[in-house]
């Protein structure tokens, strides 16, 4: 299935001749200082600025409107800026691709009307950041494990192994489906174990959809940044225990992409 991230909306208020817009990355507390070297999306990338209103600020940069956004550089620039912010301060990340006409509109239409809501959300995130744990099954190890645990699969494999592929297509599909189901069951069990291991550490957790057919675990955690060392220790231990069957990675601190929710009961503007 293909999902394309097409243009979200077109505004009548944008003059035809407008060639630049204000790209918005996210919302942070007002008292942050952006490094003069920080560059954002677009080609060439422009400096990142902060637009303040009251106790909050939007991280923005100018972007040319005559070129589509979404190159690898654009995607990385968006996340790297937000993750760098998340390592220091609470941050409300926007979904990739948010552009507003100009600085004034960012303040007047985005920050001012939503000030209190954003302040409250930032307070909830104070001292916390997102971490993502990704684990991928080690191919041969997991398949060996599965054959050892599933006599039926092992029998089928032995039966068709030395036969020509064309003659055994249905059996191969059947075998593959058994493997697939076994991996799904393992994923569920291993994810449950991971969640149990980090339960005491995490404020919130979300099990993400697998992004690969051999994904073992894919979980987003909201954690007090002061407990990062504890999280790393738990992951080291789990990684050691799983070393021969799962390759484990820990990403973070990241912006809380999985834990900010667009306000309810508002599906956006028509």
């Amino acid at each position: 299935m293909v999902r394309s991230t097409e243009t979200s909306a077109t505004s009548e208020s944008v003059p035809e001749e407008q060639t630049t817009g204000c790209y918005v990355y996210g919302v942070v507390p007002a008292e942050i200082e952006v490094d003069a070297e920080a560059r954002g999306v677009g080609d060439p990338p422009t400096p990142v600025r902060s637009l303040q209103h009251g106790r909050i600020a939007a991280l923005v940069s100018d972007v040319s409107l005559d070129r589509p956004l979404g190159t690898p550089h654009d995607l990385l620039a968006h996340e790297e800026l937000l993750d760098a912010a998340a390592a220091e301060v609470p941050v409300l990340p926007l979904r990739f691709g948010a552009v507003i006409t100009d600085d004034e509109a960012v303040v007047e239409e985005f920050l001012r009307p939503n000030h209190d809501e954003f302040v409250a959300a930032l307070e909830e995130l104070e001292g916390r950041a997102q971490y993502v744990v990704k684990g991928r099954y080690v191919e041969d190890a997991v398949f060996t494990e599965i054959l050892e645990e599933n006599p039926e699969a092992a029998r089928l494999r032995d039966e068709i192994r030395d036969l020509p592929e064309d003659a055994t297509r249905n059996e191969r599909i059947q075998l593959g489906e058994m493997i697939h189901e076994a991996i799904a069951a393992k994923r569920e069990a291993d994810t449950a174990e991971l969640i149990e291991q980090v339960d005491e550490l995490s404020v919130l957790s979300v099990v993400r959809q697998p992004s690969h057919e051999q994904d073992a675990v894919h979980v987003a955690l909201l954690i007090e940044t002061s407990r990062q060392a504890e999280l790393e220790q738990v992951m080291e231990e789990l990684g050691r225990r799983w070393a021969d069957r799962i390759t484990l990675r820990l990403l973070g601190p990241l912006a809380a992409y999985d834990f900010v929710m667009t306000r309810q009961g508002d599906e956006g503007w028509d």
Partner: protein, 146 residues
């Protein structure tokens, strides 16, 4: 808006590891600007990114079948019972060195190899973050605090 677990992202894609991680996070998660801004929203064209939902397909099944057919189960690295017994006997005669790893010599090497690399991976990631990324922003003093 509230801070709470959002629904898991459904659409994903495989590319280089760094970019794949980014795509997992920023395309379908985070606040949606449309819910907060009306007339000043600029619709900019976004490059369409083919994001695949991981669904089981016949291709997947055939790939799995091929992978298990390739496995050589006779070449197991785990020690059989006789090997174990032998090692234990050897352990009795040997001086009281750490006995546990001695028993499983062959697998020990294998496991330790993967273990070290897993440790390195975790270390690399955290180091990387410490080095560059945090420098982009810093918190200034809040006058009202203190």
């Amino acid at each position: 808006m509230t801070v709470q677990p959002a629904g898991g992202g459904a659409a994903e894609r495989r590319t280089g590891s760094g970019l794949a991680d980014v795509i997992d996070s920023i395309l379908d998660k985070g606040l949606v600007i449309d819910a907060y801004v009306g007339i000043s929203l600029v619709g900019i064209e976004l490059l369409s990114i083919d994001a695949r939902i991981t669904v089981a397909s016949v291709d997947t099944y055939l790939r799995f079948a091929e992978a298990v057919n390739r496995l050589d189960l006779t070449d197991k690295s785990k020690p059989g019972l006789p090997e174990l017994v032998q090692s234990v006997k050897g352990g009795d005669q040997a001086p009281p060195e750490p006995p546990e790893p001695q028993k499983l010599q062959k697998p020990k090497t294998v496991i330790q190899g993967s273990l070290e690399s897993a440790g390195e991976r975790l270390g690399d990631l955290t180091d990387e973050r410490d080095d560059g990324r945090r420098k982009k922003l810093r918190r200034t003093e809040r006058p009202e605090e203190g």
